[in-house]
């Protein structure tokens, strides 16, 4: 019996009687579906804003497709710029969803049940957003299918030794498995929606997507096992996906990229940014949907602790990278050394120090218990962390490319408005999906919360 349910029925039920759990479950359904049902004017304003951003992004991309990649600022030697930064950023955002739903499930951390539905939705939408960027980055986007190994007359296959092809497999696997995992968790809730919803159309749609779920013992038995196995499969998957993303860089012999810590460091960074995004989304949602009864401050505090932990791992990686560059020094490896000196003091030093401020210094404030239990503070803090993590990828990608081996080939990269437009568009695209989700699908996992009350 968790502490979250004690106050649900108010003071008229001082003790748990026979009907306590039964009533709790009914109340839970009522509250969650109340949140799902009525779009407010604010919702429409938000949706229109998001769609407006999508419009800006689409227009920018159209301009780029018509005129060519020259419309973007990427140019030798910096061939990867804001697009790839955005790609890594969004894949990273996705990761905490799987962490919360799969890893914390295996660890039997109960607080995950407050966040997992939203976090998994976030995962799916963030991967959908991330998947756009490799395409946007293509000069001739209509040939995107060349990325896949399909039989063709010339017996040409993709190069499986290329990390970019690994990425195609990793990200598409991730999208598929996340969707399956999310959907499986949803099926029993959709069956509840089928029962509760009034309108004929809604009943039919929820009925179809619930697969005719009736809640028999047999169904639950297989469901439990499936859920456990999917969690066990998703856990190594989530490690692998951002590792593969990191290897897009680490396999290349570019200083600042080619370093062994990248895989675990990227994974930690991804979860760090993802947790920040969960906080960004859940704090307002809890308030607007009146879910205070179900999501306690304690639950947010645990999320904040996760943020601290991953923040510390990321800080460790920053320190180690820098320390080892200093350790080899000019005599040991001049390229490694100069790359890090350039990060600290060069043209992009402002970006580097922004990152340090956002990702290293700001999460340290969470050591103060009062602050990490203050939802407004958490919400405010989550935004610089998102920004800082964006800059982390920007620093890795751009700074390393701007200065590699040959001083004659040094360069400086300035993003254009096309790139910023598309970046804005990606936020719009993500939030459009998210807003639609929040009004169609129960934002809390009803069946899992029901299980807790027994």
């Amino acid at each position: 019996m968790s502490s979250h349910s004690t106050n649900v029925l108010g003071s008229n039920v001082p003790e748990r009687d026979e009907l306590y759990a039964y009533n709790y479950k009914a109340k839970l359904e009522e509250d969650v579906f109340a949140a799902v049902s009525k779009p407010t004017p604010l919702f429409y304003i938000a949706l229109l804003t998001a769609l407006g951003c999508v419009g800006i992004g689409a227009t920018s991309w159209a301009i780029q497709i018509i005129n060519g990649l020259g419309k973007a600022g990427i140019m030798n030697p910096v061939g990867w710029g804001v697009y790839i930064t955005d790609f890594v950023f969004w894949v990273g955002i996705a990761h905490s969803g799987t962490l919360i739903s799969a890893i914390l499930f295996l660890f039997r951390a109960k607080f995950r049940n407050r966040f997992n539905r939203t976090a998994e939705a976030m995962t799916v939408f963030a991967v959908l957003t991330a998947g756009l960027f490799p395409l946007i980055h293509l000069g001739r986007v209509w040939f995107f299918y060349w990325l896949f190994p399909y039989p063709n007359q010339r017996h040409l296959w993709v190069n499986f030794k290329s990390p970019l092809v690994w990425d195609v497999f990793a990200v598409s696997t991730y999208l598929t498995v996340s969707v399956v995992f999310w959907y499986i968790g949803l099926v029993p809730d959709l069956a509840i929606a089928r029962r509760i919803k009034e309108s004929k159309i809604a009943k039919t749609l929820y009925g179809i997507f619930s697969l005719g779920w009736t809640g028999t013992f047999k169904e639950w038995q297989h469901y439990n096992q499936l859920y456990k196995f999917l969690a066990a499969l998703a856990t190594p998957l989530v490690l692998s996906v951002h590792s593969v993303v990191s290897w897009d860089f680490a396999m290349g012999v570019v200083y600042g990229w080619h370093t062994t810590i990248f895989a675990p460091y990227f994974v930690a960074g991804a979860i760090f940014s993802g947790c920040a995004m969960v906080i960004t989304l859940m704090v307002p949602m809890r308030k607007m949907f009146r879910l205070e009864r179900y999501i306690a401050i304690d639950d947010f505090e645990k999320l904040a602790k996760l943020l601290m932990l991953t923040g510390l791992i990321v800080s460790y990686a920053y320190i180690v990278e820098l320390a080892l560059a200093l350790y080899v020094g000019k005599e040991g490896n001049v390229f490694e050394y100069e790359q890090f000196m350039y990060r600290l003091t060069g043209d992009y030093a402002w970006a580097y120090w922004t990152m340090i401020l956002c990702n290293v210094i700001s999460p340290l404030t969470l050591f103060v218990r009062k602050l990490r239990r203050n939802l407004i503070y958490l919400f405010v803090l989550s935004i610089p962390i998102n920004i800082g993590m964006w800059f982390e990828r920007f620093n890795i990608i751009v700074i390393s490319l701007a200065r590699d081996f040959d001083p004659y080939a040094f360069g400086y990269y300035t993003p254009t408005w096309i790139e910023w437009g598309i970046t804005l568009g990606s936020f719009g695209w993500f939030f459009t999906f998210f807003l639609l989700f929040s009004k169609t699908i129960p934002v809390l996992p009803v069946t899992e919360l029901k299980e807790e009350v027994d």
Partner: protein
């Protein structure tokens, strides 16, 4: 015969009685509002646990083999040295094999639920029995 309960403990008591009387869980239908590990343990005492794990295992192994076999075959099908790496570069192909292990494992497990749980059940999509949050035991009559 149909028994309905709003209280979980009473339901479990009844269920235990029925099961102890020798009735096989296969001959009755139990409906629950949410998954429940205690009840699962109780029933699995009389009934074998889910066979879903074999779907996962077979799917995962198939994915792993496919990953290595396919990458190796494409490398040999059109031999082209790239990056100065050997044709069969197992570290690189491990990544593909790993991803396919997870992909096939997850999809096979999902298929396992659909097959073992006999889903989707079209007849129940639109007109399900409405038990809300009650626990129900239905014993099918033996005519």
């Amino acid at each position: 015969m149909e028994f309905r309960f709003t209280n979980r403990e009473q339901f479990m008591e009844k269920l235990e009685n029925i099961l102890e009387s020798g009735m096989s869980p296969d001959n009755m239908k139990i409906v629950m509002p949410n998954p429940d590990h205690e009840i699962e343990h109780l029933v699995e005492h009389y009934k074998s646990p889910s066979k879903l794990k074999y779907f996962t295992l077979v799917g995962g192994l198939t994915g792993c083999l496919t990953g290595y076999a396919f990458t190796a075959w494409t490398a040999i099908d059109w031999q082209l040295v790239t990056g100065g790496k050997p044709f069969f570069s197992w570290p690189a192909y491990t990544v593909i094999a790993f991803e396919l292990t997870i992909l096939f494992g997850a999809l096979a497990s999902f298929a396992g639920l659909l097959i073992l749980g006999k889903l989707p059940r079209f007849s129940k999509m639109l007109n399900p029995e409405n038990y809300a949050n009650e626990y129900v035991i239905i014993i099918e009559d033996e005519d």
